[in-house]
C-alpha cells in the first residue's frame, strides 16, 4: 500500500471517529477501576442449600440466598465464591455423583420463599469444578428446587422447578433429560400455581422417584401456602407414570412437604406435612405405601414455607434432623426431637460429613455453622460475607462510617477503613430483629435505626450509650398506622434535628423523634383488599411482613426543604411543594408504568429542585421489568431512562452530586452506570458480583460509591471522580489523565490486625496518591513506563503503569527510591525504607513508544498535623544526611570488598603473594567486621549489630517519622557518623599501607589492581 494512500485512509478513519459518538460499554469504559468488598461477615447471611462431595470430605458447597455459590476445599474451614457472574439467589447445588470433582449443577432462585427473596434465572452447569459456568436453560423458572442425577448415568437428570412466587407460570414441575441437559421433557405438572418443592431418588433404584408438589403464592400484601395442588407423588418407572402416595396422610388441602429417604435403608421415608389437621412428621417403612404420624412438635411444623427440609444420617436411618427455627434432631427414628445447639436461628439445611456423622454443616439465616459433636455445639464459618442489607447510609466522618440494616441480622455500623483492614470487631450493633434503615444525625453523635414494621424505632446517643424508642404512634380518633416491613425514614439536609417517617401518612419530627406531627393525609391507595391481616394460608404466618398500602420512600429536596417526595408501595408518587400542606399525586403522568407498581425509591436531585428520579419495582406482581423515570418539572412529565443495557428490576438510583448525567442504578443483578444521563448504561463488574443492589449512597468528601447489596454485604467503589470526566472529548484522546484533588500524606497511624486467617477482613482503600488515566486502547506491544518526577523533571521513582483500555488507577506511596545499602551477611530491615517526598508539585510522565504524556500531582501535608514547616525542613535534612551516610557506608564496604576479593583471587593463583595479600585481607576484613555483620541470620541467631545495622535502624526511624528528630536522635547520629568517618579514615590508611604495598606487588607481576567504580557510578549501578 502506498504511504500516501495509507495516510488518507487514516485521515478518513479519524473523521469517522470524530463524527461518531464514542460509546464504551462495561469494562471498556471502567478498565481496571475496581470495587472493594468489605463484608461484613460476622453475621453472614441466609444459606439455602448445602452439598458435600460424596468421596472427598474436604469439599463442601454452599448455595446462598443472595450471595451465589461458595466452595470450601478445606473441610468447611473457609469458603470461596465461585458464582460471581450469575444470579446470586440459589435454590439447589448438586454434584454429579459420577464426576463429583468436576461436574456441578446449580439451580438458581431461592426456595425458602420469604417476602424478601430474590429471583433466579435458570439452571447452570460447570464441568471444571466451578471455574466456568454455562447456562443450560430454564430461564423463566425463577426458582429451581431440586436436581437429581442417576448415579449410574450422568445423562439422566431430573430437575424440579418450584417456579414463580408472585404469578402463575407454566414453567413448573418435574423435567427430565436423558441427554445430559440438551433436551428436557416435562414429566409431571399439576397447574400454574403448583411447583415442585422436592424430588428424591431411591438411592438403590434410580427408577424410583418421589416428588412433592406445593401450591403457593405470594403477593405484596399476603402469602398463601397450600391448596388442592399440594401432594406427594411416586414413580417406579423413571418418571413415566406417577401416583399420589397419601395412605395415612390427613385429608383436605395440604401445604408444603418436607421429604427424605434414609440413605442406608430406602424403604424408610420421612415426610413433614403442612395441614390444618394432623400436621407433623410422618414415617413410612414400606417406601411410601403407608404413613404413620409420629410427632407434631412446634420445631417440626413451624413455618413450612421457610423450613421444609429433613435430612437423615447417611449411616443410621433413625437419626434425622428437621430444619426449623432452631433445628430439631431425633435419634429414635422421629418419635422425639430436641433442639440443636446454639447458633443463628432459622435452620434451612444440614449435611452430615461423609465419614463421621458427628460432624455436620448447618445452613442458617446467619451463615454456615459447623459441629463436631453431633449438633450440640456449633461454630460459625467466619469468612462468608453474605450479609443482606436492605438499606445503607454513610456519614461524613474521616474515615466515614457505613450504616445499614440486614435481613434477620439487626442493624450495624462500621468504618470504611480501619488499621489492619476492616475486621469483624470494627462493626457495632445498632438494633435487633430484622434491620432496615439506619441514619446518622448530620451533626450530633446520634444514630436512628429500626426493626421490622417500625415495631421499634431507636434513637441511639452514641456518646451517652443511651437508647430511646421514638416510633410514631397512632393517636385518638385517627386510623391505625400502617408501617411497611421496611419502614421509610429520612433526615433533612436543611434542619439537622428534623426526622421523617412514613406510615400511610408522612410524619415529621423537629426534635429528633421525640414529638411527631402528621404532615399529609393517607398518601397510599388505602385499598382494603391489600390489607390482609390473616396471611399464610394453611399455616397462619403473621410476621407483619405483608403490611401493604404504606409509604416506602421519602425524599426531601436538598435544594428546597418545602419540596418533599413520597413514594408508596402501592404505586403513588406524591409531591408537596409547601412542606406538606398540599400534596399532588403525579403517578398518572408516568407513561408505560403498570398501575400500582411499587415505588421503591425516589431520589430528589441535588442539581435542580424540580428534578427527581423514581425507581419502580413490580416483581411482587410477577413483573420483572426495569422502571426508572426522571422528571424535571416536579412530576408534571416523566421520562423513562431504561435501555436494553439494564438487566433486572431496579430498586435504587443515585444521582452524582457533580455531573448530572452520571447516574448509578442498583438492580436485582448488580450495578449499572450511565455517563450520558441514561442514554446508555454499563454494567459494573470489576470485583462486583451480580448481587442485588438494594441501596446506593455516594460519600461527598471521598466520592466513594457505597452499595448495600442483599447478599454480598457492602461493596465500595473508591473515588468515582474519574467517571465525572468521561466526556466525549476525553474519550477521544489516546491518553487522558483525570484531574484529581491534591493528595495528602497521611500522618495518622496505629495498630490493627489480629483476625485469624479464617476470618473475613475487608480491604482498606489506598491512602496513596492515585494517578488515574484513561487509555483509548490497551497497551500490549512496545514499552510503556510511568515515571514520577519532580518539578524539574528529575526522576524520583518509576511505577508500573496500568495498561488497560478505559480507566487505569495507579498508586504512589509518596516515597522516593531507597538508599543503596552496604552488603553484609544478612540484610538489614531498615535499609528497605525509602524516604518520603516533601509536599509540593510533582509530575507523572507516561511514556508510550515515543510519545510522552504528563500529569501534575500536588502532594500536601496532612492538614491535621501539628508539625511546623521549620520542623519538616529539619526532618527532611536529617533524613537526607542519614540517607547519604547509608550510601557512603555502602560505598566504603564495596571498596573493601573489591580489594579483598582481588587479594583473595591473587592469593589463590600465586602462593608467593601470601604475606602481602593476607595483610590486605586481614586488615580490611577486620575493618569490615566493624561496619557490617558478617555472620548470623535474620532471626534469633542474629550477629551483634555493627555500624550498618545501627545506622539503618536510625535512618529508618527518622525517615518514617514526620516530626523533627529529637536531640538524642541527633546525638546518636553523631556517634554513628563518627564511626563512619573513622572507618573511612582507617580504610584510607590501609589503602595507603597494605593495599598500596599489594598494588606495587601486582604492578611487578603485571597484574591489574582491584577495580572500583566511582561513588557516582556505584550509586547508579
Amino acid at each position: 500500500m502506498n504511504k500516501n494512500l495509507l495516510l488518507i485512509f487514516a485521515a478518513l478513519l479519524c473523521l469517522q471517529v470524530q463524527a461518531q459518538e464514542i460509546v464504551l460499554k462495561g469494562k471498556e469504559l471502567f478498565g481496571t477501576l475496581e470495587a472493594r468488598q468489605i463484608g461484613p461477615a460476622l453475621m453472614s447471611g441466609r444459606i439455602i442449600d448445602l452439598e458435600n462431595h460424596p468421596t472427598n470430605d474436604r469439599i463442601i458447597y454452599a448455595g446462598t440466598a443472595g450471595g451465589g455459590v461458595w466452595k470450601s476445599t478445606s473441610g468447611g474451614a473457609s469458603f470461596t465464591s465461585i458464582f460471581d457472574d450469575h444470579a446470586q439467589s440459589i435454590g439447589v447445588v448438586k454434584l454429579d455423583p459420577n464426576d463429583p470433582d468436576n461436574t456441578i449443577w446449580v439451580g438458581t432462585g431461592e426456595i425458602w420463599t420469604r417476602n424478601s427473596v430474590s429471583i433466579g434465572d435458570g439452571l447452570y452447569k460447570s464441568s471444571d469444578g466451578g471455574a466456568n459456568w454455562k447456562k443450560v436453560g430454564f430461564e423463566n423458572s425463577e426458582r429451581i428446587s431440586s436436581i437429581v442425577i442417576n448415579p449410574k448415568n450422568s445423562k439422566e437428570i431430573y430437575v424440579g422447578v418450584l417456579g414463580a412466587l408472585w404469578s402463575d407460570s407454566e414453567e413448573r414441575g418435574v423435567y427430565k433429560t436423558i441427554d445430559g441437559g440438551a433436551t428436557w421433557e416435562k414429566i409431571l405438572y399439576v397447574n400454574q400455581r403448583t411447583g415442585i418443592s422436592d424430588i428424591l431418588m431411591d438411592p438403590k433404584d434410580p427408577n424410583t422417584l418421589y416428588a412433592s408438589m406445593w401450591e403457593f403464592r405470594r403477593t405484596a400484601w399476603g402469602f398463601n401456602s397450600g391448596g388442592p395442588g399440594s401432594a406427594l407423588y411416586k414413580s417406579t418407572d423413571a418418571g413415566k407414570t406417577w401416583k399420589k402416595i397419601h395412605n395415612g396422610f390427613p385429608e383436605g388441602d395440604l401445604g408444603r412437604f418436607a421429604i427424605a429417604v434414609a440413605p442406608s435403608n430406602p424403604n424408610i421415608l420421612y415426610a413433614v406435612i403442612e395441614s390444618k389437621e394432623d400436621k407433623g412428621l410422618y414415617r413410612s417403612e414400606d417406601a411410601g405405601n403407608n404413613w404413620k404420624l409420629l410427632n407434631g412438635d412446634f420445631g417440626l411444623v413451624v413455618r413450612p414455607f421457610y423450613f421444609s427440609r429433613i435430612v437423615v444420617d447417611p449411616k443410621n436411618p433413625d437419626i434425622l434432623i428437621k430444619g426449623g427455627l432452631y433445628g430439631s434432631i431425633s435419634r429414635d427414628g422421629g418419635k422425639t426431637f430436641k433442639s440443636m445447639g446454639d447458633m443463628h436461628a432459622d435452620i434451612h439445611d444440614v449435611v452430615f460429613d461423609i465419614n463421621n456423622s458427628d460432624r455436620m454443616y448447618v445452613g442458617t439465616d446467619g451463615g454456615v455453622y459447623r459441629t463436631w459433636d453431633g449438633g450440640s455445639t456449633l461454630d460459625i464459618v467466619d469468612n462468608l460475607p453474605l450479609s443482606q442489607f436492605y438499606h445503607i447510609s454513610v456519614d461524613n466522618e474521616e474515615p466515614y462510617n457505613i450504616y445499614g440494616g440486614l435481613q434477620d441480622n439487626g442493624s450495624w455500623w462500621g468504618p470504611s477503613s480501619s488499621t489492619g483492614g476492616i475486621e469483624a470487631r470494627d462493626w457495632n450493633r445498632i438494633g435487633y430483629g430484622d434491620g432496615f434503615r439506619v441514619l446518622k444525625h448530620p451533626t450530633k453523635n446520634i444514630i436512628y435505626s429500626e426493626m421490622q414494621g417500625a415495631q421499634n424505632v431507636w434513637r441511639y446517643d452514641v456518646d451517652k450509650n443511651y437508647t430511646k424508642n421514638i416510633q410514631p404512634l397512632s393517636i385518638k380518633g385517627e386510623a391505625d398506622l400502617r408501617f411497611n416491613w421496611n419502614a421509610p425514614m429520612a433526615i433533612s439536609d436543611h434542619q439537622p434535628d428534623r426526622f421523617y417517617m412514613g406510615s400511610q401518612f408522612l410524619h415529621v419530627s423537629e426534635d429528633m423523634g421525640t414529638n411527631w406531627k402528621k404532615i399529609s393525609p393517607d398518601l397510599t391507595t388505602n385499598d382494603p383488599t391489600k390489607q390482609d391481616k390473616e396471611s399464610g394460608g394453611i399455616s397462619v404466618d403473621k410476621s407483619g411482613a405483608e403490611t401493604h398500602t404504606t409509604i416506602f420512600t421519602i425524599a426531601e429536596s436538598p435544594i428546597d426543604q418545602k419540596v418533599i417526595w413520597v413514594g408508596t408501595d402501592d404505586g403513588n408518587v406524591q409531591i408537596t411543594k409547601d412542606g406538606g400542606q398540599t400534596w399532588t399525586n403525579t403517578i398518572e403522568n408516568i407513561k408505560g408504568l403498570p398501575k400500582n407498581t411499587w415505588v421503591y425509591h425516589i431520589e430528589a436531585s441535588a442539581h435542580n429542585k424540580g428534578t427527581a428520579y423514581a425507581v419502580f419495582d413490580g416483581h411482587t406482581t410477577g413483573d420483572m421489568n426495569t422502571y426508572v423515570y426522571k422528571t424535571s418539572d416536579f412530576g408534571a412529565t416523566w421520562k423513562s431512562l431504561v435501555t436494553d443495557d439494564i438487566i433486572g428490576f431496579a430498586r435504587n438510583i443515585q444521582e452524582d452530586y457533580v455531573n448530572e448525567d452520571l447516574l448509578y442504578l442498583g438492580t436485582e443483578f448488580g450495578l449499572f452506570i450511565t455517563i450520558d444521563g441514561g442514554k446508555n448504561w454499563s454494567r459494573f463488574t470489576n470485583n462486583m458480583p451480580a448481587a442485588a443492589v438494594h441501596f446506593i449512597d455516594l460519600q461527598k468528601k471521598t466520592n466513594d460509591l457505597v452499595l448495600g447489596t442483599h447478599g454480598r454485604g457492602i461493596i465500595i467503589i473508591d473515588d468515582i471522580s474519574p467517571l465525572r470526566q468521561l466526556s466525549q472529548e476525553n474519550l477521544a484522546k489516546d491518553v487522558h489523565f483525570f484531574k484529581a484533588e491534591p493528595s495528602i500524606i497521611k500522618e495518622k497511624s496505629g495498630f490493627g490486625g489480629g483476625s485469624t486467617e479464617l476470618q473475613f477482613v475487608g480491604d482498606n482503600p489506598s491512602t496513596n496518591t492515585k494517578i488515574a488515566y484513561y487509555l483509548k486502547k490497551r497497551h500490549t506491544f512496545g514499552k510503556m513506563t510511568l515515571s514520577i518526577q519532580d518539578a524539574n523533571g528529575k526522576e524520583i521513582i518509576d511505577l508500573t503503569p496500568g495498561k488497560s483500555k478505559g480507566i487505569n488507577i495507579i498508586t504512589w506511596n509518596h516515597r522516593k527510591k531507597g538508599p543503596k545499602v552496604a552488603a553484609g551477611k544478612t540484610f538489614t530491615y531498615g535499609g528497605f525504607t525509602a524516604p518520603r517526598v516533601a509536599a509540593g508539585t510533582y509530575k507523572a510522565v507516561l511514556s508510550k513508544g515515543k510519545k510522552k504524556f504528563e500529569h501534575t500531582i500536588v502532594v500536601k501535608n496532612d492538614p491535621d498535623s501539628q508539625i511546623t514547616k521549620e520542623e519538616r525542613v529539619n526532618h527532611a535534612k536529617i533524613t537526607q544526611e542519614l540517607f547519604d551516610d547509608m550510601e557512603k557506608l555502602a560505598y566504603l564496604v564495596y571498596q573493601i570488598n573489591q580489594n579483598v576479593k582481588k587479594a583473595q583471587d591473587v592469593l589463590e593463583k600465586d602462593p608467593s603473594s601470601q604475606k602481602i595479600a593476607n595483610a590486605v585481607i586481614k586488615e580490611l576484613n577486620t575493618l569490615k567486621e566493624t561496619l557490617v555483620v558478617t555472620s548470623g541470620d535474620n532471626y534469633v541467631a542474629e550477629a551483634e549489630p555493627q555500624l550498618r545495622e545501627k545506622l539503618s535502624k536510625l535512618y529508618s526511624k527518622v525517615a518514617n517519622q514526620f516530626e523533627k528528630p529529637s536531640a538524642s536522635t541527633i546525638e546518636n547520629k553523631e556517634v554513628l557518623e563518627k564511626r563512619l568517618n573513622d572507618g573511612e579514615i582507617l580504610f584510607q590508611k590501609i589503602k595507603d599501607k597494605q593495599v598500596n604495598k599489594f598494588n606495587k606487588y601486582l604492578e611487578k607481576k603485571e597484574i591489574a589492581p582491584a577495580k572500583a567504580l566511582s561513588f557516582e557510578d556505584f550509586i547508579k549501578k
Binding site: 472427598n56 476445599t73 471455574a131 506491544f781 508500573t800 527510591k817 525509602a834 541470620d937
Partner: protein
C-alpha cells in the same frame, strides 16, 4: 514489527475475526505465528531474563533462567548481595530461607509439582497435545477493557496436601493480535486458597525474531524485564542445590 506492518496485520486480523468463528487451535496457532513462528519457539533452548521485581515497596533486581529441559534459577540482588535465591535442576527444587539466607529443599510435593510443569516452558500451549494437555475455548470476554478469547488449558493434576487437584489456567488472548494479555490461575494453598490470581501481560517486544512480554504484573508484584538472552550458556552449578552450605 514496524508500525505499518502491525496496522496491516491488525486490519487483516480484524476482518478475519469478524467473518470466522475461531477455534482454540486457531487462536493458539495465530499466537505462535504472530510471535515468531512455532518452529522458532520449538528451537528455543532457554532464556535468561533480566529485570526488576517490585513488591511491597521494594525493588529487587533479578535474573531468571528458564531452560527447555525444565531447569530454572532465579538470582536476586538484595542489599548488595547477589545470590541464587532458588533453583530447580530437574530433580531438586530449592530456595533460600528468609531467616538464614541458606538454601533449603522444598517439600517433596512441591518438587513433584514442579517436575510436572517442566514441559510448560516456553509455553504450555506449544504442542500441548503431546504434553497431554487439553484446551478449550470458553468464549469471548472483555478483559483489561479489550475483547479477548478466553481459553482454558487443563494441565496435569497437581498434588496438594496429599490430594490430587485439577490444574487449570485461563489465558485471555487479545482478539486483535492473538497474544495473551491476562492469565488467571487459582491459588491452591494458604489463606488465599481458592482465590484467583490475575497476571497482566504486556509490553511485548521482539528479541531475535520472537516476541516476549517485557512486563508481567499481578496485584502482589510486578516484573519488568530489561533484557532477554536467548539460548544462554550456563554453568550447571547455577541450578544445583549448594550441598554442604
Amino acid at each position: 514489527m514496524n508500525t505499518l506492518k502491525s496496522i496491516l496485520v491488525a486490519l487483516v486480523l480484524a476482518i478475519t475475526t469478524s467473518f470466522y468463528g475461531q477455534t482454540a487451535d486457531e487462536i493458539i496457532n495465530n499466537y505462535f505465528e504472530n510471535t515468531g513462528g512455532k518452529a522458532n519457539w520449538e528451537k528455543l533452548d532457554g532464556v535468561t531474563m533480566k529485570g526488576v521485581m517490585k513488591m511491597q515497596g521494594m525493588e529487587i533486581p533479578f535474573e531468571q533462567v528458564m531452560m527447555k529441559d525444565g531447569r530454572q534459577a532465579t538470582t536476586i540482588e538484595l542489599q548488595g548481595n547477589k545470590m541464587v535465591w532458588g533453583a530447580f535442576d530437574g530433580e531438586t527444587y530449592w530456595s533460600r530461607n528468609q531467616m538464614t539466607m541458606e538454601p533449603e529443599k522444598t517439600d517433596s510435593e512441591t518438587t513433584e509439582n514442579m517436575k510436572k510443569q517442566v514441559k510448560d516452558w516456553p509455553s504450555p500451549f506449544l504442542n500441548y497435545k503431546e504434553k497431554g494437555y487439553t484446551v478449550e475455548l470458553i468464549g469471548k470476554e472483555t478483559m483489561d477493557g479489550t475483547e479477548t478469547f478466553k481459553v482454558k488449558i487443563t494441565k496435569d493434576p497437581l498434588l496438594i496436601n496429599g490430594q490430587s487437584q485439577p490444574n487449570i489456567s485461563h489465558y485471555y488472548f487479545d482478539t486483535e493480535n492473538f497474544v495473551p494479555i491476562i492469565i488467571e490461575e487459582t491459588i491452591n494453598e494458604g489463606p488465599m486458597k481458592g482465590k484467583t490470581i490475575k497476571l497482566s501481560i504486556s509490553d511485548y517486544q521482539e528479541v531475535e525474531g520472537l516476541y516476549f512480554p517485557f512486563s508481567q504484573s499481578s496485584e502482589f508484584q510486578s516484573m519488568n524485564f530489561k533484557e532477554f538472552d536467548l539460548n544462554p550458556e550456563l554453568e550447571k552449578t547455577l541450578f544445583a542445590f549448594p550441598e554442604g552450605k
